[in-house]
Symmetry: C2
Subunit: 354 residues, 2 copies
């Protein structure tokens, strides 16, 4: 089978608020640069270029984010933006993308499903790992498991099983986000982080959907065969079950393989992650954008170009984020509090800030 049968499905439909106030419904995390030269989405697509041509790179996104996606990816062929008519979680979204790949290249075509909003520091190592995963995907569903550098409680873990050369292991189990003590045990036992990257053939995905999510399987078979994909998707997609790919399929099927990945992956799940992906100054402050810092240490300061100037003096270990219309001030290490703020903004009618 030639490389012409390899695709990348970039999943770009998320709309989280964990990087509020910079991230919004219409400007989700994958459309932020976070101090880099390009958006996380554009960086994901750029990395994919080492795996397949841009013609084989598809971006699955929400209808109200499609324009922003096209703007962020001017070189992406228009027909490679795959639109979810409604948000139905990742099983349906990757199924839709897989159906499009199947229509173009058949059931043996393999794809890499990649989240669009992760940071990857070591691109050559990522490419090597992903290529190996695509190779294994001829026989199995494959995932990349990130080698943990801390007992993180915010991720699911993978328990590796027997070795499957070259370079892979069977997945013995997918396990949910652990508590702190369990996380330490997982790390000591060599468990890996589930980073949501999966590699498989389109036939394999359709078969798994038939087996574990038959309603989805039926829809995907129709999407592969129909002469009017858009009409069929619009008619049936919004009624599909809203289930994650992990829960709906991966945790239920057998024979998944995992390849350990060690390439500076970070999902930038909160402002607290910024010091991991961007350098701090000599006072331990990480800043994106203009700011005045005086006698202040260990802060994370983010200022959009059209925001007021931020000035910090005599404060340590804060997160201060400013946009044109909102300012967040919180203590570092309490990223989960952002949700409270967003909820409060919603309750007091400031939907313009969401």
């Amino acid at each position: 089978m030639s490389d012409n049968a390899e695709f990348v499905l970039v999943m770009a439909g998320g709309g989280g608020t964990r990087l509020w106030p910079v991230s919004r419904r219409t400007r989700p995390k994958q459309l932020l640069t976070l101090g880099g030269e390009q958006t996380l989405l554009a960086a994901t697509v750029a990395r994919a270029a080492a795996l397949c041509s841009i013609e084989h790179t598809l971006v699955v996104t929400a209808r109200d984010q499609a324009d922003a996606v096209r703007e962020a990816l001017p070189n992406l062929p228009a027909e490679n933006v795959v639109i979810e008519p409604a948000a139905r979680n990742t099983a349906a979204a990757v199924g839709l993308g897989a159906a499009v790949v199947h229509r173009r290249a058949g059931g043996d075509a393999r794809f890499a499903m990649l989240p669009s909003d992760a940071f990857i520091g070591d691109i050559p190592r990522f490419v090597t790992t992903a290529k190996l995963a695509l190779q294994h995907a001829r026989q199995a569903i494959v995932t990349i498991g990130i080698t943990p550098d801390r007992p993180e409680t915010g991720y699911g873990y993978l328990e590796p099983g027997v070795a499957i050369p070259p370079g892979a292991n069977a997945v013995a189990a997918f396990v949910e986000k652990p508590d702190a003590k369990t996380a330490e045990r997982y790390v000591a036992a060599g468990y890996l982080w589930n980073a949501g990257m999966f590699f498989m053939s389109t036939d394999r995905l359709l078969d798994e959907a038939d087996a574990h999510m038959p309603e989805l399987g039926t829809a995907l078979r129709r999407y592969v065969a129909t002469s009017d994909l858009e009409a069929d998707v619009n008619a049936t997609y919004p009624a599909l079950p809203s289930v994650s790919l992990d829960y709906g399929i991966m945790e239920k099927t057998k024979g998944i393989r995992v390849i350990p990945g060690n390439f500076g992956w970070n999902d930038v799940g909160s402002w607290d992650a910024l010091p991991i992906i961007r350098p701090a100054d000599s006072d331990g402050n990480v800043r994106l954008g203009e700011a005045i810092l005086s006698n202040s240490h260990g802060n994370i300061v983010v200022s959009e170009p059209d925001a007021p100037l931020i000035a910090l003096t005599g404060v340590d270990d804060l997160v201060v984020v400013a946009t044109r219309d909102a300012i967040l001030v919180m203590r570092k290490g309490h990223a989960q509090n952002v949700r409270d703020v967003v909820d409060a903004a919603r309750k007091c009618g400031r939907t313009d800030l969401l």
Copy 2:
């Protein structure tokens, strides 16, 4: 002598930065409302109405603040805005105001010199005290000394001497801002805060200027006598010595009287003073303007109407102040840090923020 010979001189030329970023050169503290119904300047003029008519109320201000003063005081007669052609400190400013009073009502006319940027909580007690001071001003220079409620190191103090009925004492000494230990001794010994309010006749001020600041005395005599006051002031005022009234005259002359004042005076010298003049909520937060506070205590949060929405979560004892173009974040109790920030803004060329 009738009440027709009593005037109020409101000193409104200051341009401090201690309430930055809300206060600016062209929007000094006296032009802020700080959550009240009117600006501190308008409140000062409103209090003066119990002492004299609006026709006898003069506001001494800087040329570049005159328009803002007129806008803040629409009922003030246009000719009662006295403009300093240059900033020459308070001795020259009050001298200029006194000369204008002298031209209108003669040397026996008495005036109350009142700063425009102080908060006063108990207006009836202030009025009673000020009326008593104007009565004593027939014979002497009089000041009001605020009864301290804490060993403040940010103010000068007055040492009271022998009683001079009704209700006054001789001033035994003016003393400079003390260190913390000295301040405690002052408070224990019954010293009073120098709040910069002085009451005297115009002749008395001119005589004192002649005696202690002869260059100023000569200029003031000319301002009293000239047929073209504006031309004379423009020609000579900018070259007058720049000295405070306290240092140039009050600390050198004899026979000054002080009347103790206890009427909720606060000079709002920094954001830290806000909880003294505005009520806190049940979490100890004082807020001016819209803000979202979640699990946050003891903060001071100030948001101008055209500023981004401030959201605090999980932080205590901060000062957060936002305007359309600047955001200040500092620790409560470190108000002196504001100067560092303003200096830094100047150094990096952001004069638009000063």
